[in-house]
Every structure is written in structure tokens, then in C-alpha cells.
């Protein structure tokens, strides 16, 4: 028989399951009298939001920055991840002396509603049944995520955020914040994102969801009760998605056609090529920390995102009269959220009279560039935040 190498099962399944209800984070509980009104018409209550903070809130509460995480990110921006033990996902940008300087700003990042790292989502326990929500969890949207974040910000006693920052799905949340709560956002840094999810992106998400649901271990979403986990389906979904985060040039530069620990092809379906081995690693490390149903819900939320549709098809109307300062950033080799999408956002912001800057950063590293060490991007982010801080009256010693 030809040698095959399936994606191994998750090693940290128990840790992950624990994080869903009892996260290694601060938790804001919202009881029955404070429901989260969802776009699908359901009031979600009770629910909880898991979040991390870095730095100190100043006396005037004027230095709060909300970081919005991407599809498979979480609240652990700049600390060691409780499940994987890896460093925070944005330590390139967030930390002492970094563009999002934890010595100057009070940085908040919360797990999105529908996530699996402690905010209420399909991996959480449904208080009514005492069982994991699974597919009984209502379908959520990007505006729902932002509504929940606004409730958290209220809870923290913060009126106006100095900045809302995020890339990809995080960038969608940034734009949604600016459309829904313009008076609460002093400056906005939406990175590698769009005001609507493109047909191609919806198509890739559908591919990922179908891969999860085709795994017999998915069990119609009731895998937790039945003691399985669709790690192969979720792994494949992640592998496909991961290709969209990179670029042809980056893959070629990193891997080319090089072989993995061998000189000659094995004439099997083993991972002969380095790029295969790399993708399998991406798939298997992902399933260790992520819940399959949560992946379905969050990809769906991105698919539904379309700010213009909520404003009679006129994107500029969503930002009319805004006083928020915007800095939109895109990357040349990003084909998932290409520069044309960012330009469309910028044109709408210009048309609505917003104060907007826009920079396209030259890199061959694709969509993932926003998470990587790309100094030119950091320069822009730092410059934008510093000048906004100056206007906000934030000084270095605050």
C-alpha cells in the first residue's frame, strides 16, 4: 500500500476545551439583564467575554487601544498562549517600545463572540442544557462581535477608544466600529481588510467549512459529546486557508520544489516536498488550539460582512460625518484582501469627508504580512499612532 501520512490528532484537546468556559484571561460576565442583541434576531444571554489587557489606563481614560483579532487569532496578543505555549500573535507590533507601546497605551484585546478561547461561542457550555452549544449556538456577525466589544468597553468604564486596530477579520471589526460607534473611535487602523467579503473569499470559506463537515468525526457538530474531534477536516480547512494567506512568490522563495529530508521522490503520498510538510504542520498545529464549530461560525461571520449593504448600498454613507482619523494599510502581494479592496474603502472614506491616510506596503509575503516583521508597516503604524496621540494630547509619560 502506498504510504500515507494523515494529520495527527490534537495533543491539547483538554486544555482547549477548558479554555472555552474557564479561560486563562480576565472575563467580563453579562447576565440575563444585559443580553447581546444579535443580528439574527436572538438576544444572547447570559454570555461572557474573555480579554487581555496590557499597560495602564491613564487618569483621563484617553489612552485605551482596542486590538481586534483575526479569524483564527485570540485575545493573547502579547503574552504566552495558554494552550500552545507560543508567544503572542502580535508581539511584533504590541509591547514596550513597539508601535502599540504598552508603556504609553492601555491595550485591550478580547476574544470575539463565537470564538473558542473564553468568549461565549459554540465551544462554550450552553447554560440551559448544560451541554456544549455546538450548532445550537446562533449564527453571529461582525457587527455582533463589535457590539459585544462595545459592551466590554462600557464595562471597563471607557467612553472613547484612542485607537481601534486590527488586520483581516480584525480590520473588518475596526471598520465596523467606525461605522457603528464613530464618536467612540478617535483613530482607526484597519489593515489588510475590506468593507465586504468578496465572492472568492466566501468561496474559500465554504471550501473550509465543507472540509470540516465532511469529516465523519464532525458528527453534525456534536463531536464533543461523542468524544471525537474533526481534526482532519479542520486541518484540511486550515491548509487551504493558509495558502490564501501567503503568495506564490513567498512560497517559491521559502520552499521552491525542495524535498523534505530526502533526495528523491518516494513515489507515495508522503510529504515529499517541503511545502507539503509545512502545510501539514500548519494544519495539525491549528487543530490543537481551535474548535471546529467555532471555525464554521467565524468564517460565516466574515462572509456576511458588507457595511455598504447596511447603508442602502452606499459605502460612503456608513462613514458620513465621521471625525475618526483613519490609516488604511494594504500589502502588495495580498491576494485575499488585495489593495483594490483597501482603495475602495479609502475612496468611500474620502467621499464621506473622513480624515484618511492610506499606504500600500511593498512585500511578497501575502496577506500574512500584517502579522510578520515588516518594518515599513511598523513605521507607518507608529507614525500614525504618534501623530494621533499628539492630537489626543497623549504625551510619552502618560
Amino acid at each position: 500500500m502506498v504510504n500515507v501520512q494523515p494529520i495527527p490528532g490534537p495533543a491539547h484537546a483538554e486544555d482547549r476545551a477548558l479554555e472555552a468556559d474557564h479561560p486563562t484571561s480576565k472575563v467580563a460576565m453579562f447576565t440575563g439583564d444585559q443580553p447581546l442583541p444579535l443580528d439574527c434576531g436572538i438576544d444572547l444571554a447570559p454570555f461572557q467575554i474573555a480579554y487581555q489587557t496590557y499597560g495602564e489606563l491613564n487618569a483621563g481614560k484617553s489612552n485605551a487601544v482596542l486590538v481586534c483579532h483575526a479569524l483564527t487569532g485570540d485575545q493573547h496578543v502579547a503574552n504566552v498562549h495558554p494552550v500552545t505555549g507560543k508567544p503572542g500573535w502580535w508581539i511584533t507590533l504590541v509591547g514596550p517600545g513597539k508601535p502599540l507601546d504598552t508603556d504609553r497605551y492601555f491595550i485591550i484585546c478580547s476574544n470575539v463572540i463565537g470564538g473558542c478561547m473564553g468568549s461565549t461561542g459554540p465551544a462554550s457550555t450552553n447554560p440551559v442544557t448544560g451541554k456544549v452549544w455546538g450548532l445550537d449556538f446562533p449564527v453571529i456577525t461582525i457587527p455582533d462581535m463589535v457590539r459585544a466589544q462595545a459592551m466590554l468597553i462600557d464595562r471597563l468604564g471607557i467612553d472613547t477608544l484612542f485607537a481601534v486596530v486590527g488586520g483581516s477579520m480584525g480590520g473588518m471589526q475596526v471598520l465596523q466600529w467606525c461605522a457603528a460607534y464613530p464618536q467612540r473611535v478617535f483613530s482607526a487602523l484597519p489593515i489588510a481588510c475590506s468593507t465586504r467579503h468578496s465572492a472568492q473569499n466566501i468561496a474559500f470559506h465554504e471550501l473550509g467549512r465543507q472540509a470540516v463537515m465532511a469529516d465523519p468525526d464532525w458528527r453534525d457538530g456534536r463531536y464533543v459529546e461523542q468524544g471525537t474531534h474533526p481534526h482532519r477536516g479542520l486541518g484540511v480547512a486550515r491548509m487551504a486557508a493558509h495558502i490564501t494567506y501567503l503568495s506564490d512568490a513567498a512560497l517559491h522563495r521559502k520552499f521552491g520544489r525542495r524535498m523534505q529530508d530526502r533526495e528523491l521522490p518516494t513515489f507515495s503520498f508522503d510529504a515529499d516536498f517541503q511545502v507539503e510538510s509545512y502545510l501539514r504542520h500548519q494544519g495539525s498545529s491549528f487543530v490543537e488550539r481551535f474548535d471546529a464549530n467555532s471555525y464554521l461560525y467565524l468564517t460565516r461571520a466574515m462572509d456576511y460582512f458588507d457595511i455598504a449593504a447596511d447603508h442602502d448600498g452606499v459605502l460612503a454613507a456608513a462613514f458620513r460625518g465621521t471625525r475618526t482619523r483613519f490609516c488604511v494599510v494594504s500589502f502588495t502581494s495580498d491576494w485575499l484582501f488585495p489593495t483594490s479592496e483597501s482603495r475602495a474603502t479609502v475612496h468611500a472614506l474620502n467621499a464621506s469627508g473622513a480624515r484618511v491616510s492610506f499606504a500600500e506596503i511593498e512585500t511578497d509575503r501575502g496577506h500574512d504580512a500584517f502579522l510578520l516583521d515588516v518594518p515599513e508597516f511598523f513605521d507607518i503604524a507608529r507614525a500614525f499612532l504618534e501623530s494621533a496621540g499628539h492630537s489626543r494630547g497623549l504625551t510619552a509619560d502618560e
Binding site: L246, G353, V356, L371, V374, P375, D379, E386, S387
Partner: protein, 230 residues
Amino acid sequence: MSEMSAPQPALPLADSVPPRKRYRRKGRYRSDHLLLAEMIEPNSKVLDVGCGDGDLLQLLETRGVDGRGIELSREGVNHCVAKGLAVVQGDADTDLVNYPDDAFDYVILSQTLQATRQPKAVLENLLRIGSRAIVSFPNFGHWKMRLQLLIGGHMPRTDNLPATWYDTPNIHFCTIKDFVQLCDEINVRMERAVALDLYGRPLRFNAPWWFWNMFGEQGVFLLSRAEKIR
């Protein structure tokens, strides 16, 4: 979330986009910028197309102007953002069409017209987006230019336009006379016209056109729509 590649060096960030060499400065500002700024009413809304390092926008903002910019070069955008200016990376030829009608009181095109692919279309867009446009450009009718072509027999090069014919970004040179003709053709009203000498100082006001066309190193025009051009 890959950590697959080694850190990638950023494009070198020039300390500044080199200024045109000879400009006289009054304090921290270029004299031609001060002239442009003086044409603009306080508290108006201004778009600077091809805003470079953002020096002019910064000057305008000290005068209460709500300024925006478009700049082609990434380094220029970086410098502008660092100064707290609202500047978008973009191209005058392709991006002006996306701005709505009457979005600005003034649209400035400083030393950029000659580098656009379609100067006429750009000019029309300027006056669609703004109630007024301020356009400055190097005058190819200047005596030094004429002399180089006439006597030297080669494409003119000056301190302010040092590029050779094969690497210049300036593909649509014109003279002050040519520009005036274009304005007539597309029904644009000239509210003010100033010719500047080699040092960016205005030539005397009462000079005739031929004098400006001969001795003006650049022309600066405050334009408005003669009537509805749409």
C-alpha cells in the same frame, strides 16, 4: 499565522524627498509654497495632489486649512503620515476620478501636471472635485530652455529639472502659453496667474504674457470653472 520567513528589510526610508534645489525659504517654508498658501482662503478644504513630503499641507494646516493629500511615492506617504497629515498613496491619473464632485474648496497640483499621462483629463478632474484649482508647473518656454534647444541642440536640463530625456518622469512639458490655451479650450477661468523666477519669486505683475513665457521659470495659476463644464 506563519513565522515562515526571515525578517524582510523595509525599503530604505529616505530622510526626505529631495526638494527642488534653488527654492528660497522664508523661515521654514518654501517661497513658492507661501505664494500658494496665500491664494487659499483660511478654513477651506484643500486637496494637494502630488503632495510629496507634505510641506505645503503642513503650512496650510497652520492656517486652519483642512488638508488632504495624494502622493505616488511610498516614502512620501510615510513622511506625511509621520507628520500627522491625511495622505493617500495614489496616482493623479487614475485616482482623481474616484473623488466626488465639489468635495474640496481647492485642489492643488504643484509641479505635477507635466508628469501626468493625461494632463487635460487631470485638469478637468481638478475642477470637478474642487471649486477652484491651483496649478503650478515648470515653464518650458523659459529662455534657458529655449537656448539649450536652439544653441545646444539637446533636450534642456536645468537645476530644477535635472533628469535626462530618457529617465525623466516629466512626459508632458508645456509652456505658459500652451497652458493658457488649454484653459481656454476647456472653458476654465483664470482668476490669478503668477510667473515665478528661478528662485521661486514672483515676476512683476504688469508684465505681458510673452515676457512671462520667456522669463517665468514656472507658472502658478488659480483656476475656477468658467461655467458649468458638466
